[in-house]
Amino acid sequence: MAKIHAISDLEELREKIVDDRKQFEKTIILCGGTGCKASRAQAVIDAIENELAEQGMEKRVLMRTTGCHGFCEQGSLMVIEPGNIFYCHVLPEDIHEIITKTIREGEVVERLLYTDPVSGKVIQTEAEIPFYKAQDRYLLAQNRQIDPCSIEDYIAIGGYSSIGKTLSDISQKSVIREIENSGLRGRGGGGFPTGRKWAECREAPGDEKYVICNADEGDPGAYMDRCLLEGNPHLVLEGMMIGAWAIGAQQGYVYVRNEYPLAVKHIRVAVQQARELGLLGNNILGSSFSFDVSIARGGGAFVCGESTALMASLEGKVGEPRPKDVHTVLEGLWNKPTTLNNVETWANVPSIIQNGASWFGFKGVKGSKGTKILALTGHVKNTGLVEVEMGTPIKTVVFDIGGGAANGKPIKAVQTGGPSGGCLPADKFYLPVDFDSLAEAGSMVGSGGMVVMDESTCMVDVAKYFLKFLQDESCGKCVPCRLGIDRMLEIVTKISEGRGVSEEISLLEELGATVTQTALCGLGKTAANPVLSTLTYFRDEYEKHINEKKCPAGVCHELITYMIDSEKCTYCGLCKKACPHDAITGEKKDIHAIVLDQCRKCGICRSECKFDAIQVN
């Protein structure tokens, strides 16, 4: 493709692409995200290509492999337009039928349709699926419109017109004012007002400035940044270009974790394509603005997502945080003024410029504007990536989108914000998902993790899990974090093993407060949240572990015993066969019993029993 030198060239190219696409009568949209790739999406893609060629329909049907659609557990996902027909769990052997029936004849293949687990209804179109219906998909919806490796697709839906608009008729100050007025706050966890960050960086002395996109995403279970970068890399690039122009940077970096090979590949391809078109490089679109982007791969340490550690890592040093008495907007990468934003933050920028601050501010609540992508997991029927308007109540996410409890047990809590977030009990589910409300309740939006937990979860065990994660991920530089987390874990472990004493609850609280207030970086400052929030809302569980030596959820090994309910037991012998420790006695058709001394409490017998006869006390 020829280089673009002016905005008019870009518009011409856009028209041409749209025109060329008119020859296609139908579009098969196939999710090629990491989740669906795991469900054999690649084989499906090959099968479609073969089948289209065989039936001689390549010229009439456009196949588009896109980034993640969010509903990964139903993969591979396919949508056929026009008609919005939604097929799930598609396998290569289904392709012949799909092409012959749906594409040729317009008939629907019933067996591939989605069945709503809540109502049991079979649903034909994507738009009607409750999981999607209750969402407000603005960023994620774009994923299905584009092939991430095709800059044409992005341009066809209006891509790069925001940077065009910016360079032609908005001053740098007005861009920043627009972002400030929109109320956009950082999506990386801190929720810092993006406009203010940009303004401070713009005003910082110095000619050399940098913008960085933080795609380190180390939270376990979170993958919204991966999904955006894999599915719509040009959107992130365009956001960075606008930011760079506004603050006066000529160089940008995307710091992406190495465990995301597809994201690395797609952003690389995107940068290459943008360079070829002249959208990155010198004098972009004929303006005085020159800007380029490099990709850096991070080794995958959680702490490297922290701003100063990330910059140290980019400079080739050990990825350890440093004190932030001087902010990174003044002295960041190579000690130059630097603006670091999260992937999702950057992705929100182009549409704010395109549609205006008030358009963006229209969505959301006071203090938290726009939408937020959440990674919904745990004990709900539907899991995946969901995008909701800021201020949507937790219960809407858990029950309307998530479809409620998965295993029939009542839902008792939701953990939001990743490892440094907190747990909120079911009676707080009226709370809106926004920065301030969740922080006030002792948790946070964070990067958007949302783990739903039912009665089978022990909150002491949850606190222990997150402390263990943070202990492993702490860089170990400062005392409160390294030793504080260690001691908290020691105490919580003691409690979970029934060796706790009641004074330790207040010690945990005091220690938690100390770590929160005195740790060097954000990791330590938020590390006590899982403990403190479970102590606030589930103190009775801690007390039961300590005073009654009981784990109400039946999780903590040291405090439970497995027994066979002789009324329910049918003496089938399955459990006996399954037990790896030979702890079950009794012959077939004879009374079974568990020898407590030998039982290691692995729970295999319980999952094996078909009659629910294994009980936990």
Binding site: R322, K477, V479, L520
Partner: protein
């Protein structure tokens, strides 16, 4: 000519050369802010966090380490509020239970008001203050030792765990190591650890006029700046 800035520490107005950290400034004026990982004349990393102070700005106070905070004109610092005293004591408690076998750590814990401990002792032989590493990399530009590992596995090592050619045996790392000063009553065996409390009598004086340097013996353990000024 040196440029000076004026800052206020605990209500006292002091003039300090531009570029100095708040901790250095305070120590130079006889205000005792406990510290451990700081090394005079080498850049500080804020690792031990004993030197925390409240930095009051626009009516809000922020807790930060004074060794990494560069004094700026008009700064208001509080180093001895109830909040700071409590947090500092909790940090010192974590430190002394980790490594009781050091006079320096015992002394500084005492100075921070640790009278009893609520965790079990551990008897580590390194508290990862990083003074040795910084003296090696910072002062002499050598990199004979450095940190390896993360979190619990963090430790000081020479590259590839063999003695480095870069080491010219200057011994500065050992001089600076707080773990080389054994408690007055001699080393404690595993299982025998306790707070030695030897300096308690001196500290009672410190409690009466909190925050002011009383030229105590504590500096001996970890080379308090004041101690260096006054000589042994």
């Amino acid at each position: 000519m040196n440029q000076y800035v004026t800052i206020s520490v605990d209500g006292m107005s002091i003039d300090v050369p531009k570029g100095l950290s708040v901790l250095d400034a305070a120590l130079g004026h006889g205000i005792c802010i406990p510290h451990l990982c700081r090394v005079p004349y080498i850049s500080d990393i804020g690792a031990c966090r004993l030197c925390i102070v409240e930095h009051v700005k626009n009516g809000r106070s922020k807790i930060t380490t004074s060794c990494t905070l560069i004094a700026k004109e008009g700064m208001v610092i509080l180093s001895n509020t109830e909040k700071i005293i409590k947090l500092r004591r909790n940090i010192a408690e974590l430190l002394v239970t980790e490594a009781p076998n050091s006079r320096a750590v015992q002394d500084v814990a005492m100075r921070c008001g640790v009278k009893e401990v609520r965790y079990s002792f551990r008897n580590s032989d390194c508290i990862l203050c990083g003074r040795c590493v910084r003296s090696c990399t910072g002062l002499f530009g050598e990199k004979a030792i450095g940190f390896v590992g993360r979190g619990k596995d963090r430790r000081v090592e020479s590259p590839f765990e063999i003695k480095s050619q870069l080491c010219n045996e200057c011994g500065r790392c050992i001089d600076l190591c707080p773990m080389t000063v054994v408690p007055c009553d001699g080393p404690m065996m595993p299982g025998e650890e306790r707070l030695c409390g030897n300096c308690e009598s001196k500290m009672s004086f410190a409690e009466e006029i909190p925050g002011f340097c009383i030229a105590c013996d504590l500096g001996e353990g970890f080379q308090c700046e004041r101690r260096l000024f006054l000589g042994p």
